[in-house]
Amino acid sequence: MTKIQHSTGRFLTRLLMHSVLLCLLMAWGLSVSQTAAAAVSDAQSRALLEALDTRSFQAKGDAAQAIAESDAEQKTRWLQALLDGRLGKERRGERFYIVTDDSGREWPIIDAITFEDAGTGTRRTVEVFKINNDLRTRIQGLLASLSLSAGNETSRLAAAERLVGEVTADNADSVRAMRDDEESQSVRGQLDVALALYDVQQGDIDALETLRGNLDTRVRNTLTPIAAGDSELAAEAQSVLGGIESKRAWYDRAQTLFFGLSAGSILVLAAIGLAITFGVMGVINMAHGELIMIGAYTTWMIQQALPGQPGLALALAIPGGFLVAGAFGVVIERTVIRFLKGRPLETLLATFGLSLILQQLVRSVFSPLNRRVTSPDWLQGAWQINEALSLTLNRLAVLLFCLVVFAGLWALMRYTRLGLEVRAVTQNRAMARAMGVRATRVDMLTFGLGAGVAGLAGVALSQLTNVGPNLGQGYIVDSFLVVVFGGVGNLWGTLVAGMSLGVINQVLQPWVGAVLAKIIVLVGVILFIQKRPQGIFAPKGRTS
């Protein structure tokens, strides 16, 4: 039984696709000849909308198609509202409404036919017409064909892209005619690909040239069965396919490298604060993860204070997160760590307790639920380089941010007075004090700096993962791992260790899965530390 359902489903989807495409083509052809449509009467409008009031999605789709083909002036708005799930009918009555804002529990509504204000409605009074995935695709196609009459290039390109793999004997000639009339270079190129694919299917060897090196998966999927034969065409198709595959493989490697660097940049960001407090000062700070969490919560709070401006809020959160987490760090240093100097075991226990206190504090103040930090528009989506390679913008931004933070920190340690004093105190505390360096003040500032950088990591993480009380726990072990692997006390070591662990992890992940990849990395680091306890970069010179 399932088998039958199955194939009918496929058939229906195909049929739907075709009717949408046919519609698109018709609209394309007719876009110029369309005259100003005469408005339809209210009774006709009512009948058009009435047809949508059915449980069957197939019937609803036909009703939507009828609306698109009608002369009603409101049709674009109706279809858009239907697509958005905002077109509905009075539950105990005959009126049709469009919900103008469905965010609350009381919706402002307007009459769907006259567009006059109709007060408010709720889910009890207005029954919204439901749509499913197939119907959504179909309505989008209908709306696209309606907007084609406007004839802008973007919608023509979108329509041309949908045609790849869908050209058949029925529409081949009209597509060819369209291609000849088309002025835009990119639309023309896309139509060429669609036509070439059709020609190859008809046995035209020459058309294969157009497809050489095309990364569209539909081209690959269509060529694969053709290449399986043993004709001349098949051999030629085989070679084109080989070219496509090897090109894709290179882009895949580039993508994996990007994934690895981006995963690595998160590790580096999380660990670099620890590289200062643990690596330089030698304090085992188990509350490091919670300082990251504080940075993330600061981002959320700044965003709450600036509703509707996620970009500005994020920009302000960078100094904000640094200062808030840094201030927490200074307080922790003054009140706890200062008194435990030279007693690592007690420092470990005290900071671990501190981490639990900070977690519970956040739970009590902000509730245990995760907080939603919205990403600004320019951090959403991906930079589509070509069909096979795209870099997600938020990860790219975090990678760049990580490099900037690293460069800033390195410059600070290398060129400023604070950096000089930190290095002096680390190398020989007694001597530095003898030279007039106020060691306790340097301790406080160093710890504050490490905490502030952890806050910066929190700001970055708020764009990638959940902001909640447990945010920091997931990063504390990884952070120590990176610092130890890189070599305690060396910022370059942290960078190299974080990036290489990220890349190794991402290379392994598709093969062995996320859980095993993590185990393999952990075991690898343990073995490495056994062989080379000082990490990748050993501190130069004598250490006291």
């Binding site: 799930g85 995935n133 981006s262």
Partner: protein
Amino acid sequence: MTTTSLRKLIAGSSIALGLTGFGSAAIAQEQTQDDGPIRVGILHSLSGTMAISESTLKDEMLMLIDKQNEAGGLLGRQLEPVVMDPASDWSLYAEQARDMLTGDDHVDVIFGNWTSASRKAVLPVVEELNGLLFYPVQYEGEESSENIFYTGAAPNQQAIPAVDYLMSQGVERWALLGTDYVYPRTTNKILEAYLKANGVAGDDIMINYTPFGFSDWQSIVSQVKDFGSQGRKTAVVSTINGDANVPFYNELANQGISASDIPVVAFSVGEQELTGIDTAPLVGHMAAWNYFMSVDSDANYDFIDDWVAYTGNDEAVTNDPMEAHYIGFNMWAQAVKKAGTTDVDAVKDSIIGVTVPNLSGGASTMMPNHHITKPVMIGEIQDDGQFSVVWQTPTTVAGDAWSDYLPDSKNLISDWRAPLRCGKLDVESMTCEDGPGAE
């Protein structure tokens, strides 16, 4: 009338009187013990990782108890909640369940747990101390306890119908993604067997597990994208749990995978989980549940009004496990009324067959295997964070404790009614492997 018979009569009536006297004394004694409030244990984590999901269930139980008290309580007695916080620590669940069932608290019933791990920890405790536990979350099945009532969905009430729906939509390739623990692993095992029984080749099934709280989804999503670009319709069946879902859906959106390319149907994502996500890029991805907040029924609208009023939050959402507790609480209340006592054994017997209205406009019945009947629905995510129901089973489906698609359990059934009283009965050999019926 002879003297002997008279003597007999006197003797008999005095025995009868004595018995009655004794009986009434016993009843009186029980009454004094019963005069106090009925204690309802609530065992949900209010801190730790699971607090995000479980703390709302605690609030909901308090609301249901309040309402019952306003309506006069049960058997003329008031209900008193006993709330504990197991802090997302599985062994703490067992300890606190023991505290609830013994000592001063001595609760009459427990509503609680979320994860399967915590349920497995509590199971031996409620069996040993003969308690009652109502478990409100969808789970992997392959379990039946005399003392636990499973008001969430078994795999045949969620996973299997969801896969049937996708098949009817023309899906041919399947990516089963899950968090690495018992529920996703068992569910995926059942689904894999079911898909193969329906003629899906092994190459067309991809299975992947990730740790709890996983956030680095980029390479897995790109792998799925690759898996789905082979020219045949592909769907993702997700048993990803808890807050790992937010970065997962964000990554889907960022990599441009929309529901018309590769739809995702999730078994652990409800209204509550979506409150942390911008759902505009996710429109059309699906979830399978037995209840959605958008379900069109007066019972549901009333429930939402109550919940909004109780929490004082206009944006408060309801979800499937909340409906399960609503059904479970009402079933228990009705069984107590029917039995006339809160005694565990009496309630266990009287609750089987109890039918109460659910929130989707129908009714749910407690089956002899301690699972309930529920409708199965597929909802598509909308841009306002709600689901729109696009498909629903025509009738309710009874929960199946032992899956028919796993070779080890296909012959097993569970029936806790006398005289069978068996949680693991092999119908082929008619041998009982677990329960009082085994002896």
